[in-house]
């Protein structure tokens, strides 16, 4: 593994873009670190890697990374990525999205991209809120919590991101947190190596908006909470449902072989070119 200095030098647009725009202590930077170590570990050539994001705090990540990078519109990163992947099947494409980006405005593209099982590695940075716009409730804000648009407490159920990706047909699904960054990095690596749609949920609560509004303390306190409130899937299976309330379950939810979209399409091309039925 390359040293941190080398990683910074190799993968970050370090000369101009740092320090980054994220709040002090924001976990998005930690996810970014995990990504570059994963890419480095796997020995990918940078000219083989593209990163596509939507809009949000998490959406700002591509600016900092020396890949092919594209900061698209709010919610649609996966659709842009689908087009790019079909045009360039040889690229490794990482899609970084916030929870709002991926599941509120982008929810439809999320479920359809998973259904198509196209070879993309999607990372949802779940901070339980709309960070960029200042703390409104998102589809992953837990019930009863406060948000600027839920001043009386959120009354909506939250999406189980991993279960959703699974039911739609994703090939690889896993969840970890920024506290467990090495575990997270491992999942990202597995996702990148998986032929098919891989979804990794990275839990990283926003302390600036969600944390402040709900009086959850500093970035340090919230980092500690990730450690204390999370549990592995194996351990979770042994617990009664009541005790699982409010716990973050980490682990791999799916890892299966499903025919991949660009490969299936390649077969169509072959069939059409050999005069097959149209």
């Amino acid at each position: 593994m390359a040293t941190q200095r080398q990683l910074i030098y190799d993968y970050l647009r370090h000369k101009k873009k740092f320090p980054n725009i994220w709040c002090a202590g924001c976990g998005i930077g930690i996810v970014m670190g995990a990504i570059i170590r994963a890419v480095d570990d796997l020995g990918y050539d940078k000219n083989q890697v593209a990163m596509i994001s939507g809009i949000g705090c998490s959406g700002r990540m591509p600016v900092y990374l020396d890949f092919y990078t594209m900061h698209t519109t709010h919610g649609r990163a996966l659709s842009f990525a689908t087009g790019l992947k079909l045009a360039r099947p040889e690229l490794k494409i990482i899609v970084v999205m916030g929870d709002g980006d991926a599941l509120a405005i982008g929810g439809n593209h999320f479920i359809h991209t998973a259904r198509r099982n196209i070879d993309l590695t999607a990372i949802v940075i779940n901070n339980a809120t709309y960070g960029m716009t200042g703390g409104q409730y998102s589809p992953t804000t837990p019930q009863h919590m406060l948000a600027t648009t839920a001043p009386y407490g959120n009354i909506e159920q939250d999406f189980p991101i991993c279960e959703l990706a699974q039911v739609c047909g994703a090939a690889f699904v896993a969840r970890s947190t920024v506290y467990h960054v090495e575990e997270l990095q491992g999942y990202i690596e597995q996702g990148l190596e998986k032929k098919g749609f891989a979804l990794i949920e990275a839990v990283s609560y926003c302390h600036t908006t969600y944390g402040r509004l709900n009086r959850l303390g500093s970035a340090v306190d919230m980092m500690r909470a990730l450690k204390e409130n999370s549990i592995t899937r194996q351990a979770a299976e042994k617990l009664p449902p009541e005790e699982l309330q409010g716990k973050i379950v980490r682990g791999i939810f799916v890892d299966r072989e499903v025919p991949e979209y660009t490969e299936l399409y390649q077969k169509i091309i072959e069939r059409a070119q050999s005069g097959g039925k149209a």
């Binding site: 101009k16 873009k17 940078k46 000219n47 593209a50 596509i52 809009i55 591509p62 600016v63 020396d66 890949f67 092919y68 990078t69 594209m70 900061h71 698209t72 519109t73 649609r76 659709s79 842009f80 990525a81 689908t82 087009g83 790019l84 992947k85 079909l86 045009a87 360039r88 040889e90 690229l91 439809n108 593209h109 359809h112 399409y265 169509i268 091309i269 069939r271 059409a272 070119q273 149209a278």
Partner: protein, 372 residues
């Protein structure tokens, strides 16, 4: 040269293929669907990719992603889908990504009358997305032109790194005509300029003599950044007024300074015409019929193939001696607004109809011959 009896929509699809289009993403909608269906069948034969997306928003997004990956890419839709695509049209302008968006206009607003033709989206093509932006929009009058102008749309889009809108209508799109399609070698096909500098020197949004910076495709070793935010010449977000202004003026200049290249019109008997008819799309065919009906009078016809940027000079020249300018449109008067702005409101007579029927030659003739 290949003679065939084709639908306008099919001709559009074949035009795209001839222009080098290798990616289509779309969502079905009457009366555009046969374009998608033709592409679904034909693209794999040439190694291209067709994908039906979950909606029109995703369709244009996928088109832009594919274009960034280096494929010429297109989508086709009609009014409701075109409305949904507006955000991404702005993104394409901002990020300077070539692509072709076909809108086979049907009667609106809203669901309207899906099988009836209309020219109701002309101003939307110009102004539908938020914020200031230039746009190119073309409009064919025949099946052959569906082919030709699709090729032109791709050429302009690649040449100017910009989305180009092909405004068809349900008449032209569903009409069948005998056409002779040009052989590949007879066609001029333009590809985007690619950088000829090493990646370290490449600035994707640089000022250049042509106002259009070369475009590197993702995957080709030029690792640059694309964003919908205001950006500097390297593509990174900026808040500096000088950089924002430089971008904004360049993006307008690259179109405005090349109107001569972009604005396509067909002029019939316009010299010394005392009455000028200005028409486009299927209505231009009615206008042609009408103008030939009134041959005793000094009646000229200017057919606009390019609607945006508006062919200002051609209109001013053609209207030079005209005392009356008749503008028939299958809408409540959209291009007429622009004509009025140029030649003066008092001269313009609109012939408008927005109920799904074509304007007849007789209706145009009546406007030509009308005595105030």
């Amino acid at each position: 040269m290949r003679t065939a009896f084709l639908q306008g929509n099919e001709a559009c699809a074949y035009g795209a293929l001839a222009a080098g289009c290798r990616f289509f993403a779309g969502y079905p909608i009457t009366p555009s669907t046969t374009i998608a269906e033709t592409m679904a069948r034909e693209l794999p034969k040439v190694g291209g990719v067709f994908i039906q997306m979950e909606d029109e928003i995703a369709s244009l997004a996928a088109v832009l992603g594919a274009s960034v990956g280096g494929l010429k890419a297109m989508t086709a839709t009609s009014g409701p889908g075109f409305s949904l695509m507006q955000e991404h049209i702005g993104y394409a302008v901002m990020a300077e990504i070539p692509c072709v968006i076909v809108d086979v206009q049907r009667l609106g607003p809203s669901t309207g009358q899906p099988t009836s033709p209309s020219q109701g989206d002309v101003m939307q093509a110009r102004w539908g997305t938020h914020g200031d932006h230039p746009i190119i929009a073309l409009s064919p009058t025949s099946v052959r032109e569906c082919f030709d102008l699709t090729v032109t749309a791709f050429n302009l889009s690649e040449k100017y790194r910009t989305p180009v809108i092909l405004l068809m209508d349900a008449v032209v799109g569903h009409m069948r005509e005998k056409v002779s399609l040009p052989a590949p070698e007879e066609l001029e096909v333009i590809d985007r300029a690619r950088p000829n500098v090493p990646p370290e020197w490449y600035f994707p949004y640089e000022e250049t003599a042509s106002d259009v910076p070369p475009m590197a495709n993702f995957g080709d070793g030029f690792r640059y950044h694309i964003t919908g935010l205001m950006h500097d010449r390297a593509g990174f977000p900026t808040q500096r007024l000088d950089e924002i202004n430089a971008w904004l003026t360049r993006i307008f200049r690259k179109i405005d300074a090349h109107v001569d290249d972009i604005a396509i019109t067909e002029a019939i008997n316009v010299e010394h015409a005392r009455t000028l008819v200005i028409a486009y799309g299927c209505t231009a065919r009615a206008a042609k019929e009408a103008v030939y009906m009134c041959r005793r009078h000094r009646v000229g016809l200017l057919i606009l193939k390019t609607l945006w940027p508006f062919p200002k000079d051609q209109v001013l020249v053609a209207a030079h001696e005209a005392q009356r300018v008749v503008v028939p449109e299958m809408n409540m008067g959209q291009i007429a607004l622009e004509v009025e702005r140029l030649v003066g409101r008092s001269k313009v007579r609109r012939v408008r109809r927005a109920d799904g029927e074509m304007i007849t030659p007789q209706e145009i003739r009546a406007a030509i011959e009308y005595k105030e």
